[in-house]
Symmetry: C2
Subunit: 205 residues, 2 copies
């Protein structure tokens, strides 16, 4: 068939599909569906979304104390007088702190590493906010540090590195429990998690 | 716990997650991941996406001939001299025409219905572009009309309604073949499709 027969329906739609398809977890088909949904959606809704996207880029920054993504520096957690400043929870990313906040059960503060140690990806400790963390610990001497890095090889390496950097033996260091998730199925739990759940079993009586 | 302990990390992030979560097929968790991806992405990329969203709302319109979403009215298909104006493919939405265009195997024109007849949702024939279609057919008398509505109850009702409206018996009317998709599994094919595939079997020799 001659290429003259085939013309792009609309360069604006093709461009929109292209931009949407670059977002994580959005495949080409989903990008197409999203684009045609957006085309049909009320203009006000899409302008709101677009403004919200621009605002998030222009107004968000990092808290100079804990490095969380925030519009106020220092952030609303670090400046909140009701939060327990003597407990410090260390996470990879702001999204992890967000997940913990959503549980409504943690009242301490955070330290965001902005990634994990991963030699294969060229990320060493100096790429993360570990030196700031150590400085912060030496200055404020928290009572407890909760390491909440992901239970992966990289998360474990990061955790080990941080623990070695904390020289003050007075500080309690804990790590989130690893085990079977609620609603999980023993049969479908991977061997490592099951082994860990066995080893960390809690005595009942 | 006192509500004073818990503060929203950032109203801008919460707002962005809310807007993203309103898109079809984007659940709360995906919206959260997308939002934090956007926060980390280069500003230029997000500004491009945002501009592309606004442009799609401000510059797209409907072709007055075929009702496809387009930035040029009449659209680039209706005005393309290489497209076969004597063949008319009827589809529910612009996204369907887009899917057919992606096959690179159709050189005729389209008519977009902008939905399907669905009494349960209060959509009758007058809500669609059927009267425009009939007018168009009466004016240009195409050689063939390909009905490519979805093989669903609503698609079938729409198809039947349209066929009844076409009074010119000289016009060939066809419908897309229903059968087992390529790569499909007989065992996993639903009964109706399998029955249809049997009834529409093609003779080989």
């Amino acid at each position: 068939m001659s290429s003259n027969n085939q013309v792009s329906i609309s360069s604006i739609i093709t461009e929109l599909i292209g931009h949407l398809g670059q977002l994580p977890g959005i495949g080409p088909k989903t990008a197409e569906r999203l684009a045609f949904h957006i085309i049909k959606a009320p203009e006000s809704k899409i302008i709101e979304l677009s403004k919200s996207l621009e605002k998030s880029k222009q107004m968000l920054t990092f808290c100079k104390i804990c490095f969380i993504v925030t519009e106020n520096d220092p952030c609303s957690i670090c400046t909140n007088e009701y939060r327990d400043k003597s407990v410090l929870c260390i996470v990879h990313d702001s999204i992890d702190a967000y997940a913990i906040e959503n549980t409504n059960s943690y009242t301490g503060t955070y330290h965001i590493l902005n990634g994990s140690i991963s030699p294969i990806n060229g990320i060493g400790p100096q790429e993360l906010t570990i030196s700031n963390l150590i400085e912060r610990i030496n200055k404020s001497t928290p009572k407890e540090i909760i390491i909440a890095t992901n239970p992966t090889i990289e998360g474990d390496a990061t955790s080990t590195y941080i623990i070695n950097q904390i020289t003050n033996n007075e500080i309690k260091i804990s790590r989130l429990a690893i085990g079977i998730p609620i609603g999980g199925d023993l049969d479908y739990t991977d061997n490592k998690t099951l082994t860990q759940a066995f080893n960390s079993r809690q005595s009942i009586r």
